[in-house]
């Protein structure tokens, strides 16, 4: 048995830090590499194109004051010093962790890392292809944040003996296409629901620290403030063009709200051990996150979903069960599960929405 290796956070000089990292690499190369399933994590980000000319044509002058304040804040980068390990980063007993929990938690870290990484690729591409200074600056700043988050998660993965593999770079990759407005709807919601997810876990663990089985949760508060600002930026972008949040687009907004909430519900129910370890009931968690997200999205969306409607929870559960049944099923059974899932989604989508007037100024502060 090797002596415990010091953590890079304990290093006092760059040389020492590098030496510790090298020692860790040696240890992992010899010991962990045998655990083939564990040793190599292939990141598989996706690559997108969009209508860059349409994005370039965005004019933020109607929200100039709010826009400049937000960009100023992002440039000042109050979270810059936050993503560093300090004495709060406790040693993690990976070997003693229950295998099911370890599997789910690692899946959580990898999917988060991939998402941050994909966000970084997307935002960077927009920055590079655009000519509108307001837009390119925003995307540059968001790419910076995403890369920083990915680096932080990567470090947690390294501690668990996992090495990210960027092999996708030299593999053939196809670029798909999204309309700009779909990027706004999806990423806006993704950032806001991301904030609600992180802050809900953070507050829960603040009140119940005995459930905090990994130190990364201590960093969620500032982390989610980045997500919050990104969401604010997309809200301002949508505010520049009232068409994006009216008429037929309201049906798109409803679609994205329903799909994003339903996806989160299904996904979280795939990680029972993870939620149990956190002391969180996934149904309570989903409801809490949807409530917060709905409140936040009132800043720009003219509708919110009626998550208290009797059809809501019942059909979420049906959708989730159909999704479980779909896996491994073949032929007619698979088809039946797909139809059940589709029908549950239709029943969710057709629940009447709550309508409200949106405020004149969209800007919000993180208050949860």
């Amino acid at each position: 048995m090797n002596a415990p290796i010091k953590h890079t956070a304990d290093a006092t000089t760059v040389e020492e830090g590098l030496a510790i990292a090298e020692a860790q690499d040696k240890k992992f190369n010899s010991e962990m590499a045998t655990e083939t399933a564990m040793a190599n994590t292939l990141l598989t980000p996706r690559f997108y194109t969009t209508d860059f000319e349409e994005m370039d044509a965005i004019d933020v002058s109607s929200v100039r004051e709010d826009w400049d304040n937000l960009i100023d804040q992002m440039v000042r980068d109050p979270n810059k010093g936050h993503f560093k390990k300090n004495e709060d980063w406790d040693q993690v007993d990976w070997e003693g962790m229950e295998p099911e929990l370890k599997k789910e938690f690692i899946d959580f870290l990898i999917s988060s890392c991939t998402a941050e990484f994909s966000g970084c690729v997307l935002y960077k591409e927009m920055k590079r292809r655009g000519n509108n200074k307001d837009i390119t600056q925003l995307f540059q700043l968001m790419a910076r944040d995403e890369a920083r988050h990915a680096g932080f998660i990567n470090d947690a993965l390294r501690e668990a003996g996992l090495r990210v593999n960027l092999g996708f770079l030299t593999q053939k990759k196809k670029y798909t296409y999204f309309r700009p407005k779909f990027i706004y709807y999806a990423t806006y919601l993704s950032e806001k629901i991301g904030y609600a997810r992180y802050i809900t876990i953070f507050r829960h663990l603040e009140a119940n620290p005995e459930y905090r089985f990994h130190p990364i949760f201590k960093w969620f508060e500032e982390w989610c403030n980045d997500e919050f600002s990104h969401g604010e930026a997309f809200a301002l972008l949508m505010k520049t063009d009232p068409k994006l949040t009216s008429g037929i687009n309201v049906y798109w907004i409803k679609f994205f709200l329903t799909a994003v909430y339903a996806t989160m519900y299904i996904r979280d129910h795939q990680r029972p051990a993870f939620h149990k370890a956190l002391g969180v009931d996934p149904d309570w968690y989903a409801h809490e996150v949807f409530t917060k997200t709905s409140k936040l999205t009132e800043q720009i969306y003219p509708i919110t979903l009626d998550i208290e409607h009797p059809r809501w929870q019942r059909n979420l559960e049906r959708l989730q069960k159909a999704n479980v049944d779909m896996v491994g099923a073949t032929g007619i059974n698979k088809l039946i599960a797909q139809v059940r899932a589709g029908w549950a989604f239709v029943l969710l989508y057709t629940i009447p929405t709550k309508k409200h007037a949106t405020p004149k100024s969209v800007r919000l502060e993180p208050v949860y």
Binding site: F83, L122, K173, T176, I183, I266, V327
Partner: protein
């Protein structure tokens, strides 16, 4: 660009990988200003690239760009939107159970 025919071109590119604690990112930039359109495929030629932990590496490589046919480009424009949910952080995993 043909209606059905794919064309292949090669473009010099710069690959930058940061494998630092402060930033994990990887970007490919085409040095000749080549632009990627919907449905195109890109492959950076040569062996796998990875920066050692704590470092940023930048390499000059050649990228093979397989241009989508006109039909494929149209198809990607029409159907790409269906995949937009991938942009969500907690997108679907392959399996319903881990």
């Amino acid at each position: 660009m043909g209606l059905l025919k794919k064309e292949v071109e090669h473009a010099p590119c710069t690959v930058e990988i940061s494998h630092k604690f402060e930033s994990l990112h990887a970007h490919v930039r085409f040095n000749n200003g080549a632009v990627i359109y919907p449905g195109d495929e890109v492959q950076v030629q040569g062996p796998e690239i990875m920066a050692p932990f704590g470092e940023i590496v930048s390499e000059e490589r050649e990228a093979k760009i397989i241009r989508a046919s006109r039909l494929e480009q149209l198809w990607t424009r029409l159907t790409g939107d269906f995949e937009v949910m991938e942009l969500c952080e907690f997108s679907f995993s392959e399996d319903a159970r881990l």
